[in-house]
Symmetry: none
Subunit: 205 residues, 4 copies
DNA sequence: AATGAATGAGGTTTCATTCAT
DNA sequence: GATGAATGAAACCTCATTCAT
């Protein structure tokens, strides 16, 4: 759990400075991507000098890790808040999807950044971060499992969870396509419709 | 749409050299990403010298463009072959999905590369490439429109086309998750099942 | 000869802190050399903070000076103790050599450090420190001059003094070679043997 | 034996450029030491750009290695030339010493540089270079062994070889002291005198 | 007197691109 | 047409030093 060492002792300060850093870095990464962003730009956007930046991280990759970790953690927390694990009520799946899609709408930029840049992390860091994605999928799977009248196989549950997860992200990374004709509300409504309804069956298939 | 000038006259040679280049580059980009791959590595993997590489492109970004363009073009062509635009038969949607998923399985590496690196292209190049994505979606939309017994709204058609498109790509870029429990055949079957069937409805929703 | 100013008033404290500093620094310099040792490491090894370090010195080079000066001073003092300037007894040269070699054995690390790093001092500091080397040589020269039955020329005396001086240091800086087959005692004995005896003369030379 | 890889293919060119490099670097190292010399200065002194420098080495330490290796190799070769291994004639030791001291006089700067900076090499490189020192000592030992009328113990031979070796270097690294009153000729003559003659014995010791 | 966070000049190294052969 | 040596801007990172607390 201990990650990204710093030469600064004051933990409060570390948190504060790193928050500044993440904020600045997300903005830059969104605009030009991780690789085209220089450490000096990150320092500047964070409001301190290059020397200070390196008091709080060891390498440029640490910044990316901090950013990814922050986003994943944030999304995960919000999902946990939105989903009542004890509520097996049948509405809960719809509610969960709605909350999740809403969140994806709010965090579009972050999600797109994260989405494109995780591959630049070291294998180790990637695994650490992906663990949180797994957690979120488990959450979704749990809701799916307990919200449906008829039980689904574990495989089907996994598939549906993945579909929902990706459809949430789609709203962000295919915005150039989807935002032309949809609002997040209409998008949510239609996706939900087809999720439950399916397509009109061709023939007797 | 003349793109990527070369100082070489012989068009045949250009095509040949660029094919070598694309093949080498895809392998490298898959492994380490566009930014971490050097032009020298590309030249080496392509089987010629750095000097020769630059006889066939102007900048490193040209390589990326060539790669993306090639992949999109290839996928597009294969989809056009697979889909008979005149066949309004009701089975055609299923057939199209099957062909497309099959293709995505074969071209996993290419698709993942393309998927991660398009954002590194210039806005202009991105638009050029994305145009081909638009074409593919149109293809899917056409099939959807003409395969279903009941007509869907244009918006719904667009949404479904996007869903199918992304679910095909998912098979590649979420392989770490999906390939554990699915083969491309079972994946296709279950996705198709839920596409038409939907989930068991909770309540009377 | 007031050297290395400090912003601290309490002279006792200065001496104490600087002793800590020298001890820590010698260990570090021995291990990684002056240039690869950071001021922060010196502070840490000395048991106080970087801020405090700079209360007792002005620049990093001051630390090196303090170290070199300390070592030279220490060696010089010990040599002065060992050599009774009034004792013109013929044994005194052997005694002096013995004491000096013994000292060089005890202070190997320090001598090696000093030996390698003096050149990193400013010309001015170098001269100051080398002055003490001159003093030690004078000491040796004095003993040589007054211990031999037949008088030697000044030049010869200087040469012999230098030889002895360097042979003492050799024990430290060529330890990888000499310590394999010698102890300080056998080394002293053999060196002394050849110093007085010379080699078996080839021919009638 | 293969050491210090280069991205240049033309071996002739590598040799040429590295010779330029060594020449430039020795001058700089002599003046300011390895650590205070920047790679850009080395490039400039070598007569090419910083980019070119790095085509012929991987790291700054490689330059130091090249320099040390060159010097050791050069000295070794010259010693091998000077010493006829088959000549067991009694004069050979004197001749060898004379040649060696002469060489040390010519290569003063190089020897001093090498002497001070070997410690900055990696352990591995140090061992590689020190191997050559061992070879030179063996050479000296051989001559000593075969030039003396009375046989010496192996230990004594080793000791004498070391003494001669260091006395040669002394002429360079203690020049501030020795060059005041000696020329290389008189230095050689007196050192040789005491080597064979020893000191006038105090008492009957 | 002691601390340690902040600074930024400057060091090492990489790599896209050019051009003479 | 092909080659690969040369270039230098620019990237990442370090660390001696300062100064407010």
């Amino acid at each position: 759990m201990k990650k990204v060492p710093s030469s600064i002792k004051d933990e409060k300060l570390i948190k504060m400075r790193r928050d500044q850093m993440i904020k600045g870095a997300v903005a830059l990464f969104k605009e030009k991507g991780f690789h085209k962003t220089t450490t000096r730009e990150i320092a500047k956007a964070s409001g301190f000098s290059i020397g200070t930046l390196y008091e709080y991280i060891r390498t440029k990759e640490d910044v990316l890790f901090l950013v990814c970790d922050f986003i994943y953690e944030h999304v995960k927390e919000r999902m946990e808040d939105a989903i009542d694990m004890n509520d097996t009520n049948s509405h809960s799946l719809k509610g969960a999807i709605q909350s999740y899609f809403q969140l994806m709408d709010e965090m579009q930029d972050e999600v797109v950044v994260m989405y494109q840049e995780v591959k630049s992390l070291s294998k180790e860091a990637q695994e650490y971060v992906l663990k949180k994605e797994r957690d979120m999928l488990n959450l979704l799977e749990h809701v799916i499992r307990h919200s449906l009248p008829e039980p689904l196989s574990d495989l089907d549950i996994e598939l549906i969870a993945n579909n929902i997860f990706v459809q949430g992200q789609m709203w962000g990374f295919r915005r150039w396509m989807l935002h032309k004709h949809f609002t997040i509300e209409s998008y949510t409504e239609r996706q939900m419709h087809f999720l439950f309804q399916g397509l009109p069956i061709p023939e007797k298939a």
